[in-house]
Structure formats: structure tokens, C-alpha cells
Symmetry: C2
Subunit: 297 residues, 2 copies
Amino acid sequence: MQLKSLRLLVAVAETGSFGAAAKRLHTVQSNVTTHIKKLEEELGVQLIHRAGRVRPTSAGLALVEYAERMLSAHDEAVSLFKGQEKACGRLRIGAMETTTALRLPTILAAYHAAQPDVDIQIKTGPTAELVELLLNGQVDCVFVAGRLEHGRYHSLKAFSEQLVLVGSTPMTKMPSSQALLTSAFLAFRQGCSYRQRIELMLASQGVNAGRIFEFGSLDAMLGCVAAGMGYTVLPRGTVEAHQHRFGIHTLALPTSIANIDTYFVAPEPETWTPALASFAETLRDAVVVNEPQLTAS
Amino acid sequence: MQLKSLRLLVAVAETGSFGAAAKRLHTVQSNVTTHIKKLEEELGVQLIHRAGRVRPTSAGLALVEYAERMLSAHDEAVSLFKGQEKACGRLRIGAMETTTALRLPTILAAYHAAQPDVDIQIKTGPTAELVELLLNGQVDCVFVAGRLEHGRYHSLKAFSEQLVLVGSTPMTKMPSSQALLTSAFLAFRQGCSYRQRIELMLASQGVNAGRIFEFGSLDAMLGCVAAGMGYTVLPRGTVEAHQHRFGIHTLALPTSIANIDTYFVAPEPETWTPALASFAETLRDAVVVNEPQLTAS
DNA sequence: TCAGGTTATCTATAAACAAGATAGTAGCGA
DNA sequence: TCGCTACTATCTTGTTTATAGATAACCTGA
């Protein structure tokens, strides 16, 4: 059973004529006859009343209903890839908690305005987890800290963040090693690249990582820092966006530790759905506006 | 885009290998490559990651979802015709009010027990209307009074009914012409063959059809007869089935007027869905039990 | 019965397909 | 780094299938 034959069957049922069906689908009447006949032989049922008025039999009518389901699914699938201008379908994005909170809203708003027919799904998690999701094909693209060395993946430097130390009291210089040792550190769960930076920072101060509490959400973490539970390390922009809600204070970190780049990573562009391609374009536009010195690889 | 290619795509996505997909669908690996490649060219997107693990790209995953919709519709359609033993789908039956009330329940119960997966739809109406429905393909088969002369239709004498005169008082002989003239007659709406019999009966008594009230339902009609509104003519069996609920009385009519045959009419058997074929069989069995002298044409 | 329109059949050409053989490639382990 | 293995891509060949056009058969309505 071929989609071509079913399309002809539907056309015959609708036009009530083999010739008209042939014309509609740009072929000749003899081919319509052949296709219908083949369908009938395949199913062992007469599908079309030929004598007098040409119209579908009960069996034909029943098949037409299924044919319409198949054809509409087919046409929808085709429009997923060949839809002109407007993309449709689904876009699954993986992003770090901080990126989701700070950077994505603007971009998603712009994207949704451009492509209202795309269903957007966001999964948040630490870098390592996101890379895993991408490798498993459970998301279409991710925003992670650092480019993915794995070949056959497309990386685009999306955002540059400045990490700052966040505490509950104003700071003018780095807390003493003693203060750091006795304080707790709050970080995202295992795998978050920011957490590595915390450990790096502590090491640079000659302090071994002490107690590190793990959090799943940004709000919870900042709330706890504000409550004096300890320190954390976050992008400056993220903190500033929330500073009016929490009683928190920041301290700049040394450049070598502070600078952290967020990359947009996705499989090769040849594998992109129009929805993803369009998202990458939206992202590129947004990045160019913010910092013209973008790097693709 | 062919169903065959989509089936291969799904198999590749599920097995994670071209060779395994080929084996599953009883073909060779080179054909799988060709089909997938053709799909990719057609859609302008890479569907399968070939390097390392063979797995679908985001685009491939999206297409697989549509493919599954198409294929399941296809398989369902095939099982509609090729399903062994159990028929499925839909059966649209047209029947007269009296047949529906008196004869169908038994048959439908037997049919439903045999074919539980068939959705049954009943449309009731007078003979002329039912024939119209059948000719238009809006029902799959009908029960009507009299065989359909139109060629290319399959007729089977299903039931023989004895029409009786129904009134609100006990009758031992035909009411007088005078009584008939001053009485109202209750009948189904225009097109009901029983109504023609009423007029025939009145004519045989030398009376012109007087007031005839039209009803849409049997219950309403019998209720009105019981209330003394007038006479009606109905199959004996139908009346007997309802006699305990209404205060009504019957009088046998002359054989020439009384005998009326109900036929099962459907298009040619070649056009039957398994659901309809199975129904015809159930009916034939039921008819043989009741009156072995059945006639098919 | 005839005319007009419609479907079925036939045929030659072109295209598509399936299977097998072979070449190329990535990943793995020594 | 070097094979080894398992996999996909490509090429070839014979066969099947699709297409368009011409023609025959058919039905319907006048």
C-alpha cells in the first residue's frame, strides 16, 4: 500500500471521477485505474463503485478515513522540514540553571515571536548532565560552560559571564582563609561547572573544599546565602538580577577564575530541524548585539 | 516519501543499526542505506547519525514520531480488511422503526457477541428514506420492505411479517366503512411502506384515505392508538411485543394486504468489509433458524 | 439506438528497486 | 600505531514497477 495510491483513492472519492482525480494529482487516468486496482487486489475488497456514478463503497469509505489520517500525518511531517518561513514542531533545549534564569528569557521571547508554532521544552541541569542529554539525543541543543571537545558537534560561544563571590555581608576583599574554612559553600548539584570554580577558588586561597551544600534551584540557593548560610559563586549578571530580592553582596574574583564562557552546543547543522536552525539564528543575532566578537567552531 | 522507507527508518532508530533493521524487515543493508538516504535528500536533513553510534538525529527523531502515526494508521487499516477472525471498524445499518424494535435486538446481540470490535450505528427511517441512504453510501446495509429492484444490489429476504389492524377496542371483524371514514389513521412519516398498506386497505374497503397522522416513533404511535386516537397497521409481532404495555387490540387483515416481507439489502458482496460480511452471515444464520425457506438474489 | 463521457486494457519506455559484491570508515584493543 | 572487527556507502546487474498515451469497452441519458 503506497501513500501515492491512497492519495489517488481520496481524490477519486472526492471528485467522483478517475479522470478528475488524475488531473488533480497531475497524472493520467490509466494510472489512477491501476493504483486503485492494486489497492483492491491487495485488500481483497472492491473500494470504488464503477457502474454508473463512481463513488466509494463502504469498504472504500472506511479506507479513505484511514488514508486521510495517514496523509495528514505525512503532510504535517513534510511541513516540519519543508515549511516555508514558519518552522513548527518541537525544540528541546538544555541549559544550566543560571543561563535559564539570566539569559534565556530574552532569547526565548524573541524566538517565540518569530516562530510561534514551535513547542519549546527546557531542561535544566549542570553541564555534565546536559552534555549527557545531548549525546543521548534527549535534547536538541544545550547551553553549557565550555565548548564540547567531542568532534561532530557544533559549538558557538554564546555568553561570557563574570563569576563573583556571593555572601550575606558586604565584602571589600577576599575573606580570610580562616573565614573560608569555617564557612559553608552552596553550589548546584554534582556536575555543575560553577562548582568546579568554587573548588578552584578555594584551592587558590590554600583552602581545601570544606562543606559544600548542593542545591537544585537558584532561588533556594540565594535565599540560603542571604540567610547567612554561607558563600556561593555565581555569574555577576545572575546575582544582580536577583539582588533586589535577597540581602546579598558580591565580591569580584580574580580574572583567571572569574571568566567563564557559556557555549551553545548542538549536533552538526545538517541534522537541524528548521525549528533548531531558526533558534540558532535567533541566538546568533542576540549574541552579535551583545558582544560582536563571537566565535564559532 | 514511502511507507516502506519510514518503516525502515523506524527500524533503524529502534535497532541502532542498518544491518539489524534490514534483517528485521527481510531485506539487505544496502537497501536500508538507499531508503534512508532518499528520505534525507527528500527532506534536506540528515536523519541518522552515522559516525560512531548509529542513532537518529533530532530531525530523525521528529520524523520517527510522525512515521509511527502513519504506520499505525496503515496497520490498522490493513487489519480492517485482513484481520483474521475478528472484524473491526464500523457497521452502519439502516432499518425501519418496526424492524429495529422487533427483529434487530436479537441479531445485534448475536453479532456483537461474535464481533465485539465493530462499532454499530443504527439509522431508522421509512423504506424510501433508507433506500436513499443506501444509494448515497451513508449506510452499509438496510432492512426495508420489499426487495430493491435496482441491479448491483444484494437482496436477502430476512423476515416475513403479518400486518394487523390495531385499535383501542377489541375487534372481531373489520370496522365498517363508516367507522373507518370517521377514524383517524396513525402511520410513520412519508415513505413508510406500511403506510401504503393502510391506504391499500382503506381502498379495499371502498374508503378514501382520510386523516393520517404521522409519527416518528413506534411508542408514540401505540400510545396514541391506545388513547383511542384512531387505528394503525403494524406487524403482528411488533404489536404483540408491546401489547402488555398498551391497551390495544388487533384484527387480522386479509392475506393479500397483510403479508409483507422485510429484505436485507446491501451492495454487492465484493464491496463488503469483513464487518459487513460477518453481519450478513449472522443474519443468514438467524433467518435460517426462524424460517428455513429463505430466498437470496 | 446513438452520442458523450468515463473506465479498463495494452504497450513501449523510463524509472525504481532489490540483492550481492566490494570498498571505505570508525572504534577498539594490543 | 597497527591491525582487527563491525559497520555503512557505493557500485553493478537483473528484475520489477511506474508512467503516459492510444485504444477498446462500457454506462448513462436523450
